[in-house]
Amino acid sequence: MRKLGAVAATGVVLALGLAAWTRQPPPPAQGGTISGKVKFTGAKPVMPKIDMTEEPKCKAKYTAAPPTDEAVIVNANGTLADVFVYVKSGLPASYTAPAPAGPVTLDQDGCRYHPHVLGILVGQALAIKNSDGILHNIKAKAKANRPFNISQPTVMTSSKTFDKPEVMVALECNVHGWMHAWLGVLPHPFFGVSGADGSFTLKGLPPGTYTIEAWHEKYGAQTATVTVAGSETKTADFNFAGK
């Protein structure tokens, strides 16, 4: 029985190897696309104001309106921003992600993280930038990855990478308790964050049936199943309800 297993395993490895060897990697521009909108229904929650009196440098950056908490941002068109949408499962086992193009930047500006929600590839560099010139610390409360807690007392950039997929890694600054960011670490580039119009796009998907998940820091996660063939564009909308 054990012998049979070993033979089978060898066979599978060989087959996979052969497949990988013969398969032409598809150019990323081709392939399917999933796009959609994240809608928001219900009462729009009021986010509390953040009092940045203790950091005059930061406070000075908000001349128009005082900064508010970023946990829920409902766009003018009734959509929800900062929702992390990604392919949770469904990619073929043979799929290999392209090498990351460059670092992903997380900027600390005005005592806030920009962006508030972001995604990154496994092994891709996260450039953590301090544009404020005052002390920030970045604590990554990772579980699958190695957690870290570093500080930036002045204008500077630090670099970190993540070895394992993890959705989501909570990032926070303990000097400014209101500063939170969320980082999704994935082994593939099929992720996006809903923007100011509440839309997202996942491009270049190989044909297949995918489970995609939309994650929001306050309203939790929702999933949808989408089948993509060729280079078609499919739509998947999500709907989060305010409480």
């Binding site: 002390l135 610390n137 604590k139 409360k141 957690p147 870290f148 807690n149 570093i150 500080s151 930036q152 007392p153 002045t154 500077m156 630090s158």
Partner: protein
């Protein structure tokens, strides 16, 4: 170590055919072990000093690139600018290295090993092999601690007192392996000290030379004996606490984590139950050696020998019931605070007695200012300041203000640097001839002493003022507080003095190394002292005496009318002296 090899036994008294490794590396000879401790702990003293210099740079010029800081990795000081997490590692490691790997081994590891058998008249320690293990456990501990600076996430960073739960949970401190290595290293230090202490105690109780009664022992031996008892009983508590801390860090126990039912103050109680006797471990041997040197320098018997002995014993006894004075502000029951305050104030009394007795010794003396004496007098003067400033924090209402401020930093450095380290500078010069057979340079010794004395006061005295201004300890950048900004010029002054003080120590180290090979060959008894060790050639040979000397009197018979010279060694038999009555040898 090769230099030691070249000089330590230039004139072997009797044939010694052990191999190099047995002689100098895995040596069981108490003198070689003492010398091994000396070299290693002087190295760690240097490391501790280097760490302090980086801290002083940051405090004087916060956020500015440190000259030469560019060699430090990104995780410590990108572009030479010290990061807050590196700063608190510096704070932690400076304290740890200085307490556990510099002052404590210099006093106990070096001088208990070197002096006890020589001063009580025996061939070696009771358990030479255990003694060797004591050194190697210490050495391993030092390496582990040093390596922790270079592991991912850096070294331990919860202060040398390692207060839990900051130290117990990596998500609070941001450190990981470094924090665990600290615990491992401290467990090894504990093991080393326990092995050493049991050796010293057994040796002193059982292996004294004929005629060396308890009250003929030099005060250095008395203080080392009491220190060994403190070490024997205090270090296992630290080891136990460090083991629990390590378990909290690696196997998920919850001793010190209140989030899971543990108690944060438990660590402080365990740590300070060890920690306060430890404070006396760090000063008693210095007091003992200073007593020897002051009597020698004054050419006068020590004033009030018996009260000196009882003062040591009283300090050691009271040292066990004062640990709570580190915790007045910790939320401990205030009634306990009252009793700890009283015991703490009472412990000032034996310390005062000792200071007055040293002064009494100098009174109507014929004081010679050789380098050891200069350092010993500086010890008395500085220890007095350190002791007196301790009264402020013993008074609980005042402690409410100065606790965890630079006043404490000033106080502890007056005791540890002004006290222990000055005593050590004296002791190293004093017993150098008996270790290496050569004298250290007198002139450079004096230059080093005066520069150190002046600069040391420039560094640490202003810290009292900072503390009175309310400057907290372990601040990366005090200028973040508006009320501390006016004190910045003083921080700059302290830092510049500190850099000069550090540079001055180069003189000492060069003098030390240069004299190993080039120093004036030492006579048998260069200081005209009375101790048994001076009956041996310099350096003292392996096995010390062929036949141990007989002791006829106490160790401080200077200017005795019985002798023509101004000293009368313990081993000199005068016609009026009777042979000591020998008790039968015990047991097997």
């Amino acid at each position: 170590m090769t230099t030691v090899a070249a000089t330590a036994h230039t004139t072997p008294a009797h044939h010694d055919d052990r191999s190099f490794i047995r002689k100098y590396i895995f040596s069981t000879d108490h003198k070689i072990i003492g010398i091994q401790f000396l070299f290693v702990s002087l190295f760690f003293l240097l490391i501790g000093g280097l760490l302090a210099m980086q801290m002083r740079w940051q405090l004087a010029y916060p956020g500015q690139p440190m000259p030469g800081g560019g060699i430090l990795p990104e995780s410590m000081a990108p572009g030479g600018v010290i990061l807050p997490e590196y700063y608190i590692q510096l704070v932690t490691m400076h304290g740890t290295f200085m307490v556990f790997f510099a002052i404590m081994p210099l006093l106990v590891g070096v001088y208990a090993n070197f002096l006890i058998p020589l001063k009580i008249g025996t061939h070696d320690m009771a358990f030479p092999r255990i003694n060797m293990w004591s050194f190697w456990a210490f050495f391993a501990a030092g390496l582990v601690m040093l390596s922790s600076l270079f592991v991912p996430d850096g070294a331990a960073r919860a202060g040398w007192t390692m207060y839990a739960p900051l130290s117990a949970r990596h998500d609070y401190s941001g450190a990981s392996i470094g924090q665990e290595l600290w615990s491992v290293s401290i467990i090894l230090v504990g093991l080393s000290s326990i092995l050493g202490s049991l050796n010293y105690i057994t040796t002193i109780i059982n292996n004294r030379a004929p005629g060396m009664t308890w009250f003929r022992m030099p005060l250095s031996v008395w203080s080392l004996f009491i220190t060994a008892i403190l070490g024997l009983l205090a270090l296992p508590v630290l080891s136990g606490a460090a083991i629990m801390l390590l378990f909290d860090q690696i196997i998920g126990t919850h001793f010190f984590d209140p989030a899971a039912g543990g108690q944060a103050l438990l660590w402080q109680h365990l740590f300070w139950f060890f920690g306060h006797p430890e404070v006396y471990i760090l000063i008693l041997p210095a007091m003992g050696m200073v007593s020897d040197i002051v009597a020698n320098g004054s050419r006068k018997p020590i004033f009030g020998y018996h009260s000196m002995v009882f003062a040591i014993i009283a300090i050691a006894f009271l040292g066990w019931i004062v640990w709570g004075h580190h915790m007045f502000m910790s939320g401990m029951n205030p009634t306990l605070g009252s009793s700890f305050m009283v015991s703490t104030l009472v412990i000032a009394v034996p310390s005062a007695v000792k200071v007055f007795n040293w002064m009494g010794t100098m009174w109507r003396g014929n004081i010679q200012f050789h380098v050891p004496m200069l350092n010993a007098v500086a010890f008395v003067a500085m220890f007095a300041i350190g002791g007196l400033s301790g009264i402020y924090m013993a008074a609980t209402p005042v402690d409410m203000f100065i606790h965890d401020t630079y006043f404490i930093v000033a106080h502890l450095h007056y005791v540890l640097f002004g006290g222990s380290l000055f005593a050590l500078f004296g002791a190293i010069v004093y017993w150098y001839p008996k270790m290496f057979g050569r004298m250290m340079s007198e002139r450079w010794g004096k230059v080093h002493f005066w520069l150190t004395f002046v600069l040391y006061n420039c560094v640490f005295f202003p810290m009292h003022i900072l503390g009175m201004g309310g400057m907290m300890r372990r601040l990366y950048d005090p200028s973040q507080y508006t009320f501390l900004q006016p004190y910045q010029p003083m921080n700059v002054f302290i830092s510049i003095s500190a850099f000069l003080l550090f540079a001055t120590q180069v003189i000492f180290f060069v003098n030390f190394w240069w004299s190993l090979k080039k120093g004036k060959p030492a006579p048998q008894n260069p200081w005209n002292d009375n101790g048994l060790e001076w009956s041996l050639p310099s350096p003292a040979p392996h096995g010390n005496w062929e036949k141990v000397p007989t002791v006829y009197r106490g160790p401080y018979e200077f200017s005795s009318p019985q002798a023509a010279e101004d000293f009368l060694p313990q081993y000199t038999k005068l016609p009026t002296d009777r042979e000591p009555v020998r008790a039968p040898v015990a047991g097997h």
